[in-house]
Amino acid sequence: MDATVNPAVRQGQGIFSRYRRVDTITKLTVIAATVIALIYILLPIFWMLKSSFQTAAEIKQLPPKWIPDQIRLDSYQDINLLIPIWRYIFNSIYVSAAAALLATLIGTSAAYVLSRFRFPGMTLILVTILVTQLIPPITRVFPLYALIQDAGLLNTYTGLILSYAGFSLPFSILLLKGYFESSCPPEIEEAALVDGCSYISTFLRIILPISLPGLAAVTIFTFLNAWNDFLWASLLLNSSEMKTIQVGIGDLTAEGGGTRYVSMFMAACVLATVPALIMFIFVQRWLVSGLTSGSVK
């Protein structure tokens, strides 16, 4: 009996240990790849950060000086002498947040209707939304500029906010429609109605909390797109105190940002990153997936 059992066990151990070794190799490979990817992504950011603490001379040293001798915050003060950085950051926050709010509001309503009701022309609407995503964005520069001009919204925040919201709506609607269909099926609403909710409280107490990850995704998406935009902000706004931070930094490049004022330029870049980062950290906790599984079936 021993003779028949033992080889199998030994073989089993052999396989097991071989898998274990493969497992370690896999682990190491994954870790190595992750580290390389992280360095690739983070190196420019680190360069930006450390440069903002250095003097222009120190930045240009060869071989490069990776760790600053001392943390100098001078450039963070001096940047104000070059551009009204806080004003620009505020402008950007205002425009991006407003666009995010608007896109989320409109996107939610549109997606909700498209996910719940069947009506004539619905397929046409969906196809149109999809088709807008196929046209290269650069082609809308001229028509949209003309449109905003005709509407008298040139050099207003409203014009910019409407544009940003409009750019993100197709994607937002498609994403939220899928979300409402898969994560918040109609039966859940019906259960809430039977349980004693009105339409409004069903929305506030059931649909909204369940859909938060979807809404968060749309909000972040719109906010970051607006925050990072340079093209439209420079096209549609021209009075100097209305500029967004990206345009402000762009101006700086032309005025010695790459040479004389390089550490201030880097400081401005760091400051331009922070609000987006805060926004992301704040909203990402609602992005957790799997929150909704288990409601049906």
């Binding site: 039966e187 349980d195 909704t292």
Partner: protein, 354 residues
């Protein structure tokens, strides 16, 4: 006193008429099962009772009050959905207490009631979990708990067991039935499973294409089906149906030429369908009509054996208790119990022998 009155209700979806004209009275405390093939309008009727679907014409009254224009929450009903529809962002306790909370009950009151119901359904150890952390059977229980907590005047169940495996289904069937005995609340229960209907119902409503074919106690429908549809729908294996005509001498002549001494009172030449349930055909002489046939299929199920035999061109299913010694291809005699034979009008399907 009737808890639910459905009076001449019509439901149209645009040009499609799902329910042409339906009336039904449900007595207080009754366990009513709506049964019928897929698409016959069971869910539609239930959802109209719940207020989730508008009523095109006619009237629905609950506890004597016409509810046509009332919101679901004003109707004092609770509903269990096929997909359970639990709130994924709330715990089990949160799900169960939600309706009471909306009613403005204070925290302690809600907790007490939730605990009470959780005990009945053996959910007490799961109260802090989210629906995603439950098994299918547990979710089903939570869905029931959510409706019980409210102590409504009517429970509406839309195929609550169809997502469970066979064993759990049998267990939950018994639990729902005992729950009904305990609470005594009126239940309207939709299913397309005729065994669920037979075992649970006080009265069964057999529906077909938006209309009611027959309403009655399970065994009454089983023994005295009003028509061929009901006869065929209830019972498994289902009733044997064989077409034939009435001869001049008042016997039934089947397609294969076989002549049976039935239907003496019927008009000669009438087209009829003979119906007999598999368990009323016997392999030993019990005094019925004797017919010789060939065995073509034998299916032992354990307690019983199901045989399919060929009687001329017709295939006839027989269910006998215990085992049989026959083999496929054997010629055997069968005896059909005359008192359990039904005759249906072939074109209208109406039962003629009542």
């Amino acid at each position: 006193m009737s808890t639910i009155s459905v009076r001449n209700v019509t439901k149209k979806y645009g040009a499609v008429t799902a329910i042409p004209d339906l009336s039904l009275e449900v007595t207080k405390g009754e366990f009513i099962v709506l049964v019928g093939p897929s698409g016959c309008g069971k869910s539609t009727l239930l959802r109209m009772l719940a207020g989730l679907e508008s009523i095109t014409e006619g009237e629905v009254a609950i506890d004597g009050e016409v509810v046509n224009n009332m919101m679901p929450r004003q109707r004092n009903i609770a509903m269990v959905f096929q997909s359970y529809a639990l709130y994924p962002h709330m715990t089990v306790a949160g799900n169960m207490g939600f309706s009471l909370k909306l009613d403005g009950a204070d925290k302690a009151e809600v907790a007490e009631r939730v605990n009470e119901v959780a005990k009945i359904l053996a959910l007490d150890s799961l109260l802090d979990r989210k629906p995603a952390q439950l098994s299918g059977g547990q979710r089903q229980r939570v869905a029931m708990g959510r409706s019980i907590v409210r102590d409504p005047s009517v429970f509406l169940f839309d195929e609550p067991l169809s997502n469970l495996d066979a064993k759990l289904r049998v267990q939950m069937r018994a639990e729902i039935k005992s729950l009904h005995n305990r609470l005594g609340t009126t239940i309207v229960y939709v299913t397309h499973d005729q065994i669920e209907a037979m075992t649970m119902a006080d009265r069964i409503v057999v529906m077909n294409a938006g209309t009611i074919e027959q309403v009655g106690a399970p065994l009454d429908l089983y023994d005295q089906p009003a028509n061929r549809f009901v006869a065929e729908f209830l019972g498994s294996p289902s009733m044997n149906l064989i077409d034939g005509t009435i001869s001049d001498s008042g016997t039934v002549v089947l397609g294969s030429g076989l002549e049976l001494p039935l239907g003496a009172s019927l008009r000669a030449g009438a087209e009829v369908t003979l119906g007999i349930r598999p368990e009323y055909i016997s392999l030993s002489d019990t005094g019925g009509m004797k017919v010789r046939c060939m065995v073509s299929v034998i299916e032992p199920t354990g307690p019983a054996t199901i045989l399919v035999v060929e009687m001329g061109d017709e295939k006839v299913t027989i269910e006998v208790t215990g085992r049989v010694a026959h083999r496929v291809g054997d010629f055997i005699d069968i005896w059909m119990a005359k008192e359990h034979c039904h005759l249906f009008d072939t074109s209208s399907g109406i039962r003629l022998d009542q």
